[in-house]
């Protein structure tokens, strides 16, 4: 293995490297935008075709499932008798909540996901456990977005998005949102392919 070079070792043997060798050429005006527009059209066309095929596959699968469920559904039995209601909770002497309980209650009711909670795995897990299923999905989606957009942490973003997709109901899984980023969209499509909704290839 070549030993680490010292500070004076030249890049090439012989005459010194002329400065123009390192010069970064300036890109002709408009070239970057022109090529991006040309290539972007091809990517868009691919998306439209893929989406059309995917929606067709989902529609067929849904129709098949709905038809089967209708055919197999048993007749509703006739019932009689009193309707059961939940018992009223027994009254207990009121006690002052602890600071942790207050913080937890605030987290449960918190309309936004603070950075403090996001970056503390234990607290975030606790918040998720206490949230309703709908709120849990919102939190996971938001956490993924924040990890990617604010911190550039792809690994954590992928982890949050995967949990989001694991818990999303089937109908929500196939629903694309216009404001989704590239990472969530690709994971969502991969999940749909796994479930057999997106076998078409471009």
């Amino acid at each position: 293995m070549e030993k680490p070079m010292d500070g004076n070792e030249p890049l090439v043997d012989g005459a010194p490297v002329p400065p123009e060798a390192f010069r970064r050429p300036s890109v002709p005006e408009g070239l970057r935008e022109r090529v991006l527009a040309q290539t972007g059209r091809i990517v868009r066309r691919r998306r439209h075709t893929r989406r059309a095929l995917l929606m067709a596959a989902v529609a067929v699968a849904y129709a098949g499932g709905a038809g089967t469920a209708f055919w197999l559904a048993p007749e509703a039995p006739e019932t009689a008798g009193p309707v059961m209601t939940a018992e009223a909770p027994s009254q207990t002497p009121a006690t002052a909540p602890t600071a942790m309980e207050v913080a937890s209650a605030q987290e449960d009711a918190a309309p936004v996901l603070s950075d403090e909670i996001l970056r503390d795995a234990e607290r975030f897990t606790l918040v998720l456990k206490r949230a309703t299923p709908e709120r849990r999905l919102e939190l996971l989606r938001e956490a993924g977005d924040r990890w990617l957009d604010n911190y550039g942490d792809v690994d954590r973003a992928v982890s949050c998005y995967r949990q989001f997709l694991d818990q999303a109901p089937a109908g929500q899984l196939a629903k694309f949102h216009p404001d989704e980023n590239w990472l969530l969209r690709s994971l969502r499509l991969a999940r749909l392919e796994e479930k057999g909704y997106g076998n078409a290839s471009i």
Partner: protein
């Protein structure tokens, strides 16, 4: 490790582009446009017109054939440069076919013009721009900006040893690239 993370990210970007995500394509495009242009510019001996055409062709091929890009086999930048090499080779062949010799018996004989030999500065530029971005960065910092190993380490928030090791690998990669472009050696 940073390399694994880059690889995972390129996997995700590739999948997203195949799914038709323009934003993902834009991420790849913005990251690699300048370095690809610099590479092609060096390989065309600074001919801006030829470089412009070749770069357009490269990106058109890349977006159509991105399914063939395998992040396990190498970085997206290296794959792009491979496309550029083929585009430039085809372009040279097209130019060479314009030079024809007519033999004594009236037969048309095709003469391929040999590829023009690059001058030293052009060779350095071509070899440099063929390297991964992080190797280019450390070589530019050392040989263009003339920063010391300690200064580079300070700027990058790493150790002197890490920078020395990176410089060694970058220099080795540079020599290999040089030899591919000019087998007579630097």
């Amino acid at each position: 490790m940073e390399l694994d993370r880059d690889e995972r990210e390129e996997h995700a970007l590739r999948a997203a582009v195949l799914a038709g995500d323009e934003e993902a394509w834009r991420v790849l495009y913005d990251r690699h446009f300048d370095s690809l242009y610099a590479y092609v510019h060096a390989r065309t001996r600074g001919d801006a017109h030829r470089a412009e055409e070749a770069v357009q062709d490269c990106w058109a091929v890349a977006v159509r054939r991105i399914r063939a890009f395998d992040p396990n086999a190498g970085a997206f930048g290296g794959w792009l440069r491979g496309i550029a090499d083929r585009v430039l080779l085809n372009e040279r062949r097209r130019w060479a076919r314009r030079f024809r010799l007519r033999g004594e018996k009236g037969k048309l004989e095709l003469a391929e013009a040999p590829p023009p030999r690059l001058e030293r500065a052009e060779l350095v530029a071509a070899a440099l721009t063929s390297l991964p971005d992080r190797y280019q960065d450390v070589l530019r910092a050392k040989y263009e900006e003339r920063r010391s190993v300690a200064q580079i380490a300070g700027d990058w928030g790493t150790t002197d040893k890490a920078v020395e090791s990176m410089l060694t690998r970058a220099r080795q990669a540079f020599r290999e690239a040089w030899n591919r472009l000019d087998p007579t050696g630097p």
